[in-house]
């Protein structure tokens, strides 16, 4: 008797729970699940958007992997950028947080300054850097000239464009810096005190206490950094639109062009699925390795 009563109550609770979260269920199904399934079907068709979709089997995927060098080029550019941007963001974000963690007067003001760039609308940021990087009147080349170096045509080739994008990315790393700072401040001070008693220097404390204790924070920054690097779109679209000569053709930009400039919906769907799987695999890989280097307090 008693057990049956419990299930009745459980049923009631389950019903209430599901009713309360039902907006999420509806949104998840309508705006994520259905589009995902639909694009999966479209990825096996030739669909120019004006005609009806024609089933072509694996053709889109075969073209992607064997017949379209721009896919691999864009993937290479995106991957190189991801490695450069994420690694430099981890280092710079950590070092700046380290300085901002010091207890000196007016530190809140400085923290605000480093956060400020993240607030500038992305398109405005792109237009701003377009001016700074301009090879004729940009302030970057002026500074190079003052330093006795040669002018650089920043937005003209893959390496210089990637370098520019990494610099812009670092300029806007305020969020990961705040996350780092929060991670640093949540480390119990007793650990440092004990280390000082044991005769452990400041530099040693950073490596032996701070870094291991902050590994979950670094892990989070790593995951979000990789994902956002693979999604890079707006900045490049406004800065170079993939040019010149596809020198800055990021994967997402190529996908966009296929879908909305060449109207190759089937092909773009196949590319979407490939990106989805790629990001999922990368995330899983990082999660797997995390067991060996991320420290979790139990």
């Amino acid at each position: 008797m008693k057990a049956k009563k419990m299930t009745l109550r459980e049923k009631k609770e389950l019903r209430i729970g599901l009713i309360v979260i039902s907006p999420w269920i509806i949104g998840f199904v309508c705006f994520m699940l259905i589009p995902l399934v639909y694009s999966f079907f479209v990825s096996f068709t030739n669909y120019s958007f004006l005609s009806t979709p024609q089933f072509v089997g694996l053709e889109n995927y075969i073209t992607m992997f064997t017949g379209d060098e721009l896919v691999w080029k864009s993937l290479g550019i995106t991957f190189t950028y991801a490695v450069l941007a994420v690694s430099s963001q981890l280092v710079v974000g950590f070092l700046i947080a380290l300085i901002l963690n010091s207890k000196v007067k007016g530190i809140a003001f400085f923290r605000a300054i480093f956060y400020l760039p993240t607030l500038v609308v992305v398109v405005a940021t792109s237009l701003l850097w377009k001016q700074i990087l301009d090879s004729d009147f940009g302030i970057f080349n002026y500074l190079l000239e003052v330093a006795g170096l040669k002018r650089v045509r920043w937005l003209s080739s893959t390496p210089t464009i990637l370098a520019s994008l990494v610099i812009i990315h670092l300029w806007g790393c305020g969020k990961s810096m705040i996350i780092n700072l929060a991670g640093m401040q949540s480390i119990p001070t007793q650990l440092y005190e004990a280390a000082t008693v044991d005769g452990c220097g400041k530099a040693r404390q950073v490596f032996s206490i701070m870094l291991p204790m902050m590994s979950p924070t670094i892990f989070l920054n790593l995951i979000t950094g990789i994902i956002s690097a693979f999604k890079t779109f707006t900045m490049v679209q406004v800065l170079t639109d993939g040019g010149p000569n596809n020198a800055s053709l990021f994967y997402m930009l190529y996908l966009y062009k296929n879908a909305f400039q060449y109207y190759r919906m089937g092909y773009a769907s196949a590319m979407s699925w490939f990106l989805f799987i790629l990001v999922a695999v990368l995330t899983l890989l990082v999660f797997k390795t995390s067991k060996s280097w991320v420290y979790y307090e139990s």
């Binding site: 979260i21 500038v120 237009l127 705040i178 892990f219």
Partner: protein
Amino acid sequence: MGTKKKNNIVTGIIYVLLVILSVTFMLPIIWLFANSLKSQEQIFAFPPVFFSGTLHWENFKEAFTYNSLPFGRFLLNSTFITVISMFASVLSSALIAFGFSRIRWRGRDVVFYIVVITMIIPQEILITPQFMLYNKLSLLDTYIPLILPWFFGRPFYIFIMRQAMMGIPRELDESAKIDGCSTFQLFWKIIIPQSKASLIAAAIYAMQDQWNSYLEPMVFINSLEKLPVSVGLSYFSSMYSTQWQLVSAAAIIVALPLLILFIFCQKYFIQGVVVSGVKG
């Protein structure tokens, strides 16, 4: 005395580093501001000048009529979209977060894992199928594709609110139930006021996200006069001879709302980031 002197030197070095770094970080923004007050000739001056001669404040007025782009209209569109999306997403996410934190039901944590996973899925890959579906439903070039999804909760906002709601003591629920509160009254009268800070943090995120949103309006909206300002602004530089002083003025106008918001609500900006970091 020796350690005190050493401490002073360390503090001095920290200040020097802080000043150098913050000047470097601020320089681009100062540069943008300087350019917005220049004349056409001063923009192309080499070596570059920051602020010199007359300051051309009229650029901010001229930005509104630059190349007959309806810049004022863009701003209004963005305001409309952003305000609706903010209220819709905060309220729906709060209700959903409530369901994931204050009601115990079988399978809750498994379903919440799905919510967390959807945060990782790049929204960008959904844009192509969504475009095709909205086209079938004849919803392209309306604001429905931009606004409607915000009525069904946003994973990240659900996440930060759930964190906050988990921290509210259980006794509050029980005493409310004894007083005869229904589940909805419990949510509205007890839980919402108790988790106000996380709601504000989510509202700020919503404003930032929607004001910044670029790919979706670019794909879903065709009519120039319906564009939000993020996309509209990108039209400013695609002209044959870009007038950078007006582009800069427009960029500052677009950036300003969030900057002002930050000055008044700095605490909530930081809090939202911190919650996402500490319990990621």
